[in-house]
Symmetry: C2
Subunit: 455 residues, 2 copies
């Protein structure tokens, strides 16, 4: 790593007020102190966390297991300062070199819940933490790697856009070229699968893991998942053997296990659970339990070491005139017509079953293809392949010129097509590349146990 | 049952040619005969099935376990006619009354793979079997119930439309009023979940089960799932204790088990597996194994017996100016604008995470609501609730007037909103009904094990 940035100082304002502040100041306790609290017979050890501005009746403690918990000041019989955790990572550049036996990991902040706080006035979650604060809040990562935090942008991921994917890809390639052994990107979970796919296609000759992570509970909320997710992501970035764009999130509920999912095969499958992410139609790449990496997929992975760090580069392009449409019974064909009128170049349909659409869409699809729009077919079933040879409607679509996206996820196919169309390649080349398994995004043969059971 | 229709005769043409035909005629065997074939030391008993026109080197046998298998004529050492299964259900109306101790089940044919054949010239699957032929091909159902088959229409389900839902609902209500103890609807699997939801909302005071079933493999293909699905559906229609619109399809691969899924909570989650259907975010209603019904959900079900058959009626309306849109990063707002311009009355969005959309869609959503379009929010995660109180974007959407569809599936919410908008109710009434749990379509508290694991 060419540069070791000096971290900013701990925030001055603890955020506590009223009873909570009184309890803390009367015991000479500051945020980031190691403390022990007594609640009747219970003794709890941890680190005092900063609070949202104006918190007056609870205090936030990071427990030794990594979780953050809130405790009501009314319940606390006693609080005791144990000491102050020295911030060993507040080191100037020359001292950083002493730690050069550790791998170098760059943490790129791209926003999301993981970098957010509850605004207690309204109860809403807003972006707040900086990536530097986040790094400080999870001191464990400094024992895993030399950490360089970069705050690229701080948005919620529903506002993620192709130009931000480009910015991230360029930033990742630059850091790898500069010596990073792995990259962590903290990102909102809503569109993480789209970004992880985008970087998978944009990054060429990838020499290190690129690990997307986030949180389903903000860092200052009880039972936040951010600490475990960031620690495991840092571990995989530093030491993981798979040099792909991946997602690292909770494997199960209430657990300290995370899964490493291939970016082009992952989907957020639950709106609120911490273990919301799932690999679709394939096995996850790895399981991290108690900070041990257990590889699950042995074949068909891109191993670290194939490319030198200097070979990695970003082919960061995207054609915004690309759309993704899930079809439904008797869907209005003008939804497709408007895209043709606006000179869209690409359209990914998520059809029903093996890749079908209602009859009333056929003429618009035909018109789109005649006007040089590339139209690809995926399935809204999420699992399973597209096959345009089995049923009559599929054959009609294929004859018109619809491209079967085989076993690609709709969201991945959308990102892939937009990325391909960002290039000056001719139509034939784009179709050929679209149908080629560039990043194992196409599951050729789904393992029997890669689909889930109801009972 | 007021009328017992006389079934049509067995098709004249067996479909066999060449070696296969020679083998059959030289042994005096016709289709639907009970036969025994010998392949070296193996003896296999079953019923000879008709074949796709021009089949010359295989014969199709329905095995005793209900599965259809193809056998190469080259492998068959001997074939023997055991007898002819008398078609005991070819009985005129007055004789049908003798069997009146059996429940009356109406099988409504609405098309799909279950009523289709492979066209061997092209290999494509086309609608072919009539519901009468289907009934004959699965003689087991006649021991379960008095069967009245009705061929309503024969389409592939990607062409299913709201006016067909209306036709089905009216037909079901009429048959229940006329004495049916249960209804089976054979339907294409592609859009079965939409139709099962539509009938759930349209049918009022439902006195009997309405069981949708279909096939992922056409009836004349080896390992077709149609026999087991139709037998179990007939059983549930005849004897099931839950009077709801449900889906009955394979529970697992290679099995004789089926699951009964609540229509408003089911989704086709795999494009090709026979066990493609899954209840989402809740437990399935029942498991049928070896023709025994095992109820899984005990609470929050609509029991048979609550309403008299005469009370059932179809409130069969739908406003076609209703759309379903899955959002994606940087989605073009003109996709929403075109719907507003066309005076759409309802729009269900499948947002990201807890129900978010990109910022660039906000002004179109606002405009839609100002122009009296009802816009509801679901989640593209499929599992989990929509919550518009947690994040800033959610609050903005709620303030604009977006209706959070809570835990409703996107497809169910689309059908429900279209059905509600088919009425002359005022906006307030429609919103109130949309947010009311009319058919248990809203999962209030998801069981922990109702989400799936990757490992």
């Amino acid at each position: 790593m060419t540069e070791m940035k000096i971290l900013e100082s701990i925030p001055d304002e603890s955020g506590y007020a009223g009873k909570a502040l009184q309890l803390l100041t009367s015991n000479n306790i500051k945020i980031w102190d190691e403390v022990k609290i007594y609640i009747n017979d219970l003794e709890i050890k941890g680190i005092l966390l900063p609070a949202p501005t104006g918190t007056d009746d609870v205090i936030f403690i990071k427990l030794e297991n990594g979780y953050n918990m809130a405790f009501s000041t009314n319940k606390i019989t006693r609080i005791e300062k144990l000491g102050r955790r020295e911030i060993s990572y507040k080191i100037p550049e020359k001292e950083a070199r002493i730690l050069s036996n550790l791998p170098n990991v760059v943490i790129i902040g791209a926003g999301g819940t993981i970098a957010s706080r509850i605004e207690y006035g309204t109860g809403a979650v807003k972006p707040a933490f900086s990536i530097h604060e986040l790094s400080q809040a999870i001191p464990e990562i400094f024992s895993i790697a030399n950490i360089k935090p970069i705050e690229l942008f701080n948005i919620f991921s529903e506002d993620m856009r192709p130009d931000y994917w480009i910015k991230m890809a360029i930033s990742v390639a630059k850091e790898i070229n500069s010596g990073a052994d792995g990259i962590v990107i903290t990102h909102g979970t809503d569109t993480m699968q789209y970004s992880a796919s985008a970087l998978a296609f944009m990054l060429q000759n990838l020499a290190t893991p690129v690990v997307f992570t986030g949180a389903q509970r903000s860092s200052d909320r009880p039972a936040s998942d951010s600490a475990v997710n960031v620690i495991h992501s840092t571990l995989f970035a530093a030491k993981g053997e798979i040099a792909e764009s991946v997602v690292c999130m909770h494997a199960y509920l209430h657990d300290t296990s995370t899964l490493i999912h291939r970016g082009v095969r992952v989907r957020k499958m639950h709106s609120s659970r911490r273990d919301a992410f799932r690999t679709i139609g394939d096995k996850p790449l790895a399981l991290i339990q108690y900070r041990n990496i257990k590889y699950i997929k042995e074949k068909n992975v891109m191993l670290r070491g194939k490319y030198d760090k200097s070979e990695t580069y970003a082919d960061a392009k995207f054609n915004n005139k690309t759309a993704l449409i899930y079809v439904y019974p008797y869907m209005d064909p003008e939804i497709i017509d408007i895209l043709i009128d606006k000179r869209y170049r690409g359209l990914v349909l998520a059809g029903t079953g093996l890749g079908h659409v209602p009859e009333n869409l056929l003429s618009s699809i035909k018109r789109g293809i005649e006007e040089k729009m590339l139209i690809a077919m995926t399935t809204q079933c999420i699992w399973g392949p597209v096959k345009l040879d089995v049923y009559e409607r599929g054959r009609t679509l294929k004859n018109i010129g619809v491209i079967p996206a085989d076993g690609m996820l709709p969201e991945t196919a959308f990102v892939k097509l937009g990325w391909l169309l960002g290039h000056d390649w001719d139509e034939k080349t784009i179709i050929q590349k679209f149908l080629t398994n560039l990043r194992y995004e196409i599951v050729k043969s789904e393992p029997v146990d890669a689909f889930f059971r109801n009972l």
